[in-house]
């Protein structure tokens, strides 16, 4: 048995430090739907999967996959995958509008093969985006003076996951994966009135720190050279929100949420030497939180269906330059602004490409996604652009 060497430590440490600074503190803000329920559910993705409609597993060959630790079995060397995401949205609601943009690292994941049958994965990924802000300008008359004030309720933070997994190949084409995840992050909420000369309300704020553990498992099966199938599931246990007493008022209380079972399945098939078809689906049982989130409009099970095609039409520097197209439809688990509104869905079309360097030791992928969320009946309509860059490096 030969042991695959790890990535050179210095550049990996630099990347982990830089990326970790952003990922470890989940300061995102991609959508006004982050105001509903527990926030906007964020699925850590890489650019190739995003271009194919949002598929996260089931692609041919060994893969560094957030959902599928079994997919890392068979990698020729240790690898690191990092995704960098740019979002911009344009929302309308009740005759009002809002736009915004953000940049974040939704995924950093390392994979370390041990021989040809074992692999270990570890990484950070986002889960719940809880960055939002409601504001209202108002005017107060104080004595003979008129004072313009800004009322603000804001939330900053979210839930991230640190996930470790191990894959094992008991048979030639079947790999099994098991893993555990640690929920991290925190939220800070501020409610108050901002007077002239202030940049934030003088009162009142509360902070929580998230914790909890979950488990995951996956199966990766390659029945033939042309077909790959993968199935993954995670069960969250409970997400504990503990009050940070040093940064909170006396009345702040903690919370606990039973996180749902989440299932991802996907398959890909090469229907021609240069054409790959993918199809996938996700499901998450968020309805278990329906009662806990009743005041926010409840929660329902979410699902998503994705499909895509990858065609290798061109070559650059002797490497294929694939063209990827995909689409996705998704049911969001949380309502916007309470149960007076209908549930919201999300639809997106995506495209992208990628280029491998150094004989496949490094790869850069790019995807562009255009989508819509919500509807008039959902109280909020939002269109968005999303660009995702991924870099994957394998070390020798």
């Amino acid at each position: 048995m030969t042991r695959a060497p790890f990535l050179s430590r210095r550049p990996v440490a630099g990347a982990l430090l830089g990326v970790g600074l952003c990922v470890a503190s989940p300061a995102w803000g991609q959508s006004l739907f982050s105001t509903g329920g527990l926030g906007l559910v964020a699925d850590p993705q890489d650019a190739r999967g995003s271009a194919l409609g949002g598929i996260g597993l089931g692609l041919p060959g060994p893969e560094i996959s957030w959902s599928n630790p079994a997919g890392a079995v068979g990698l020729p060397a240790a690898g690191l995958r990092v995704s960098f995401q740019l979002d911009g949205y344009d929302a309308t609601f009740a005759g009002r509008g809002s736009t915004g943009s953000t940049a974040r690292f939704p995924l950093i994941l390392g994979a370390f093969p041990f021989g040809s049958r074992w692999a270990v994965t570890a990484g950070f990924g986002g889960m719940l985006d809880q960055n939002w802000r409601f504001e209202q300008l108002d005017t107060l008359v104080v004595g003979t003076d008129t004072v313009e004030v800004l009322d603000r309720v804001s939330s900053e933070g979210g839930v991230s996951r640190f996930r470790v997994g191990a894959g094992y190949r008991p048979f030639g084409s079947l790999s099994l994966g098991l893993g555990a995840e640690l929920f991290t992050g925190g939220a800070r909420r501020i409610s108050g009135r901002i007077f002239p000369g202030q940049s934030a309300p003088a009162c009142c704020s509360a902070s929580w720190t998230y914790s909890g553990v979950g488990a995951l498992g996956s199966i990766d099966w390659t029945p033939s050279e042309a077909v790959s199938v993968a199935l993954a599931a995670s069960a969250g246990g409970s997400l504990e929100a503990e009050v940070d007493t040093a940064r909170s008022g006396d009345d702040a209380v903690g919370a606990s949420y039973d996180l749902p079972v989440m299932v991802n399945a996907a398959a890909s098939g090469r229907i021609a030497p240069n054409v790959l078809l993918t199809v996938g689906g996700d499901w998450a049982g968020w309805s278990t939180l329906n009662d806990a989130l009743a005041e926010q409009g409840g929660a329902r099970d979410s699902w998503s269906v994705q499909g895509g095609v990858e065609v290798e039409l061109f070559q650059i520097l002797g490497q294929p330059l694939p063209v990827r197209l995909g689409g996705r439809t998704e049911r969001l688990p949380f309502r916007w602004a309470g149960d007076a509104n209908e549930w919201a869905d999300e639809r997106a079309l995506s495209g992208g490409t990628g280029l491998a360097f150094s004989g496949g030791a490094a790869r850069v992928d790019l995807s562009v996604e255009r989508g819509t969320r919500g509807s008039e009946s959902a109280g909020l309509e939002e269109s968005y652009w999303r660009m995702l860059f991924s870099a994957t490096v394998l070390g020798r």
């Binding site: 802000r133 104080v142 004072v147 804001s154 509360a206």
Partner: protein
Amino acid sequence: MIQVIRGAARGAVVLLATAALAACDNEIPTANGSDLFPGGEVPTTLLAEVTGTDLILREEVYEGFGNPRLAPFLIVANDFDGVFDAHALARFTDIPDSVTYTSAGTSRREEIGAYQGGRVLTQVDSLATFPRSTATLYLWELTQPWDSATVTWENASEQPGQETAWTTPGGSVGTLLDQAFWFPGDTAQKDTVTWELDSLAVVRLRSPDHPGVIVTSDQPGLRVKMSSLAFEGDARPAGRPDTVVPVRATEGPQTFIFTPEAPQSTAVLRTGGLTGDRSLLTLDLEQEVEACPAGGGACSMVPLSEVTLNRAQLVFEPVHVPGGYRPLAAPRVVLRSVAEPELGRFAPLGAVLATDTISPSAFAAGTDREFELDLTSAVLQFLAEQERARREGEEVETELSFALLADFEVPDLGLLWFQRSPTLRLVYTLPLNPSLP
């Protein structure tokens, strides 16, 4: 090949690390509308006003922190506000007997043979003069000696046992030396008033026994504030009578006499003026304020420390200052902390708690306006200190003591009067309780 792979890998991770550090800045999705606030809960801001014995624990007025005879300015007034008169007195004791000049590149010092003439000059403080229109000022010779330490409007000297009245109250006027004009805004004159003197007048002024000069005005309603007088002479050296050398003299007693004396009233808080009045106040900040939620519900009284204080103002009511002692320049009203108010007039002053400029017109007759002094920072700091003391189990201070002072850019005659029992106006917001779903 391995080198190529390592280079590519390192390049990729360094690029990502750089991008990571550069891209951490994010915009938070923001929606406008209070209808979106969770639970429809919007902040409630209320106003409370406290005054009288609910607020004021101590209110005392002290004077004697200034000496009118040491005032670094002179006042000339005639029937200002219908009552106030003032004349400026000066005696020049250092009009030179010798002069130094340069002739053919050589510096020479000689006796002064004679003065061709001279002038007396002063500079008018245009911001503290009323009206701001042309003023006529007369320079006279005094005919009666006066004691600079005790001279008053009625008496040339009030030395014990040697009291000497002016032959004419307000100073015994002799020869008119000159009349001069102050033209406000004149860019050539630049607020300087000049009285010309002939050679004979200079000779008289040089005499050691000469009682000096007096400045008056006959313009009704006038009050002029000006700098000390200066003498400028055109000296002719004894050895070079064809040469005129300018000399200057400023030494000698100068003061102003006035009538009536500064008004007194126990019904007001006083500050400023020739005697440097100050008022000492102690506020009770152990206040409770009403908490009435905007959406309805029962009101309750809560300690000030349990709400968010947005603004604290001490609201004064300026009072007309009689006797012609109202300020003409815009003074700053200053509150300075007092740590030991029980020491009364000897209580040392601490840091500035609040300060603001007040319009002098607030003290004129017929005006009715409030003067709001922003105390927000001071009260917030006080509440924070209370909170710290409670947390650490120390004795909690509930009283805030301070001195009310007037601060003119240049020391001034103007007195500031305010009604007793100022009002503490508090603007506060009721606390909300942010929560997770």
